[in-house]
């Protein structure tokens, strides 16, 4: 209780003055976008090769490239920051699954064609390139990687379960979803406490991604009630009925613990998901293998880099982006972070064929490469995120909480109709 009056006065006035000054200075020179030489680059953990980014910071000395890794829900953070008009990054990653939803806000980004992007178009996969562009042709997203989906599995656990362990054999025995589930049945019998997949979404999303249609078509019609979605829904329920799905929430410490213990020995994921495995369960190094996924080929995610309109030196930023994502560095991206290149020139490079110790020395490109060539290209609508969510939520209600599937489907469709109405989708 030693607040002397004088001290209180002094401190009070000082802070008042400080706050007032802080207010005015902040008001005048708020760094919306870059201040001077600073150039901020936002991405998420595993979104770019950290080594390539580090090289870029030392290579481009005209600006201070400041890479920042953003945790949590990336799109929400980026949009909120843009709405807040402060500390907007100059260069930002855009996740593949969100790409379409950024397109209506295309005027928040620099049209990369104005910086000469068209000259580089030939070096990138055409379908990937087009996903980063608006219907009227403005190029917003510059391709980072693609997401060819494969089957990652723990060879040690498969061995114990009496399942094949060599990638070719696994691919052959689990060539369809039905056969994959049958293998799951055997796994469940042999390994107590183990599950084939973490949740219903692990089936659902992959089946959707194997098709060329999602939830909304080019003419803004809701197609989430059609056969391709029903089929994915039914397959997920089938896996649930057989007891192949765990009740673990993905991404929680519980999930990682189960991965580490081999209780979730199978994962159907995009190339970049291997990066997450390496990051989250480093102790399982050498035990994983990659094989072709059951039931066809799919693309999941694969992201983009964009330049925001607040960037003061778009030319510099463009130079950095194109360097970060040139074929050589895309190859590095694959080696360092399992980001599968969107530049066909990378496919031939020797580094791509380096054996991966995390996968017991397997040359994973042998599996991922063919999967990448056969990716079905789907139309992504800006409304896919909003209209896919109710279906996924209801699926979770069935698989995790035992809700009646018919009711869940009806509820999902009702919610979708309402949201579609609200968004102007018919």
């Amino acid at each position: 209780m030693h607040l002397s009056r004088r001290g209180l006065l002094r401190a009070g006035l000082a802070t008042t003055a400080a706050a007032a000054l802080g207010g005015t200075t902040a008001g005048c020179s708020v760094p919306s976008g870059s201040t001077g030489r600073d150039m901020t680059l936002w991405y998420w953990t595993g979104g770019l090769s950290d080594k390539v980014v580090a090289k870029a910071t030392s290579r481009f000395t005209d600006v201070d490239l400041k890479p920042v890794q953003i945790g949590g829900y990336f799109r929400s953070k980026l949009l909120t920051t843009m709405a807040g008009r402060a500390y907007v990054p100059d260069i930002t990653g855009l996740k593949g699954e969100d790409m379409a939803s950024y397109l209506p806000d295309a005027d928040q980004f620099v049209d990369l064609r104005t910086l000469g992007a068209d000259k580089l178009k030939d070096q990138y996969l055409t379908w990937k390139w087009e996903q980063g562009a608006t219907p009227d042709g403005r190029l917003i997203g510059f391709p980072i990687d693609t997401g060819p989906v494969v089957h990652f599995y723990r060879a040690d656990v498969f061995d114990k379960a009496g399942l094949p362990t060599e990638p070719a054999d696994v691919a052959k025995e689990m060539d369809t979803w039905e056969n994959y589930f049958a293998a799951g049945d055997r796994l469940r019998k042999k390994i107590p406490g183990a599950f084939l997949l973490i949740d219903g979404l692990a089936v659902f999303e992959n089946v959707i991604n194997q098709g060329t249609q999602r939830y909304v078509d080019e003419d803004r019609h809701f197609i989430g009630d059609q056969e391709h979605v029903r089929r994915a829904w039914a397959l997920s329920l089938e896996a649930d009925r057989r007891g192949l799905l765990s009740d673990i929430v993905s991404g929680t410490p519980d999930g990682n613990a189960a991965l580490e213990k081999g209780l979730l020995p199978s994962q159907i994921g995009a190339s970049w998901a291997a990066g997450d495995l390496k990051l989250n369960v480093p102790k399982t190094k050498g035990k994983w293998r990659a094989a072709a996924m059951p039931g066809g080929y799919a693309n999941n995610g694969g992201s983009f880099l964009a330049i925001t309109k607040t960037c003061r030196e778009p030319e510099q930023a463009f130079e950095i982006i194109t360097w970060l994502l040139n074929p050589d560095n895309q190859t590095r991206g694959f080696v360092d972070a399992s980001l599968f290149p969107s530049t066909p020139a990378s496919f031939e490079q020797k580094a791509m064929r380096e054996p991966d110790p995390f996968f017991g020395g397997q040359v994973t490109i042998d599996v991922i490469g063919p999967a990448a060539e056969k990716i079905p290209v789907a139309y992504n609508s800006p409304y896919d995120v909003a209209l896919g969510q109710p279906i996924k939520d209801e699926l979770k209600n069935v698989t995790a909480l035992g809700k009646n599937p018919d009711r869940a489907w009806r509820d999902a469709m009702n919610k979708c109709r309402r949201i579609a109405d609200h968004l102007g989708v018919s």
């Binding site: 209780m1 607040l3 009056r5 209180l8 006065l9 401190a11 009070g12 802070t15 008042t16 400080a18 706050a19 802080g22 207010g23 902040a26 008001g27 005048c28 708020v30 919306s32 953990t45 920042v68 953003i70 945790g71 949590g72 953070k77 909120t80 920051t81 709405a83 807040g84 008009r85 402060a86 500390y87 991404g251 410490p253 999930g255 990682n256 613990a257 580490e260 997450d276 990051l279 989250n280 369960v281 102790k283």
Partner: protein
């Protein structure tokens, strides 16, 4: 401190006088007394256990934590966790930010609130009653009603991302004015005011020399309360501090926890533990006063 003691005596009145407790037949009820203390100790255990659990978790590696049954005794990896924590977030930077915000707000609140309270408690002026009622009505408006516009307005003036966005809106509040007014009404005697006026004291000198010295205990409570509230504030900083390199401790902590696929649980718990320590210190210093004032406020 003396003023509070007096007020406390007033508030609790004669019941605390010797008679009440002394008449309780403690001697005859020793077994019951022991049972009583055992039950109360159980409550203490429940209150304190999560803190202990945090200490335990922060001294183990995540692999140890993921084992079953859970560890109940401290391990030996606190320094590893600490190192990982400091590698993952700018712990001291964000703590400094929290400190700047909490201190600035506390001083501003103490000054503005006590000044306004002084006016409301001791002066008559046109519109006094209406202004006071309006203030109390404002007190009832939920914060989220203004959250979006506040965000938009601050985006326009360029405060989003800076600590100013947290300090300025919190610089004065209805609760503090109300609290200080109640305090000043009884604590500052009118004779004192009259005397100072006869001495030729102006308004500000009355405030500094008459009011403030008397209400220091009240200020102390408001100060500790404001500081803790600001230190723990989470929802608005989470939205307003868009620059991930420049956040308060609570937001940094939630970033640590919120990264999808967090494995290093020991590190997260170490962060939680470290974030609690400054508060516990402030509380340990002010606990007695704070608990007494809090109770008094409720029973008023």
């Amino acid at each position: 401190m003396t003023v509070t003691a007096d007020v406390m005596k007033d508030a609790q009145g004669s019941q605390d006088a010797p008679g009440t407790r002394g008449t309780r037949p403690i001697k005859g009820a020793r077994p019951r007394g022991i049972a009583l203390h055992l039950t109360l100790m159980l409550g203490v255990l429940v209150s304190l256990f999560p803190f202990y659990w945090t200490v335990v978790m922060s001294t183990h590696t995540s692999t140890e934590i993921f084992q079953f049954p859970p560890k109940l005794l401290p391990g030996s990896h606190f320094d590893d966790n600490l190192r990982h924590l400091f590698d993952s977030i700018d712990f001291f930077g964000s703590m400094l930010n929290s400190l700047i915000v909490a201190c600035s707000v506390t001083f501003l609140v103490l000054f503005f609130d006590s000044l306004a309270a002084f006016v409301f408690a001791k002066f008559q002026f046109p519109g006094r009653r209406a202004l006071f009622v309006m203030m109390m009505a404002i007190f009832m408006v939920p914060a989220q009603l203004s959250a979006i516009p506040q965000f938009v307005i601050m985006a326009r003036i360029g405060w989003i991302g800076s600590l100013t966005a947290l300090v300025v809106p919190a610089a004065a509040n209805a609760f503090g004015i109300f609290w200080m007014r109640q305090y000043m009404k009884s604590a500052i005697h009118d004779e004192l005011m009259d005397a100072s006026r006869l001495d030729g004291c102006g308004f500000m000198r009355q405030y500094w020399h008459v009011a403030l010295p008397v209400v220091r205990p009240g200020l102390a409570f408001l100060g500790i309360f404001t500081f803790m509230g600001q230190w723990n504030d989470y929802a608005w900083p989470l939205i307003a501090l868009v620059n991930p390199d420049h956040v308060t401790l609570q937001v940094a902590l939630s970033q640590l926890n919120g990264v999808h696929g967090t494995t290093d649980y020991g590190m997260v718990m170490t962060g939680a533990l470290l974030a609690l320590i400054p508060l516990l210190i402030v509380f340990a210093i002010g606990a007695r006063q704070m608990i007494a004032d809090l109770a008094k406020g409720a029973i008023r």
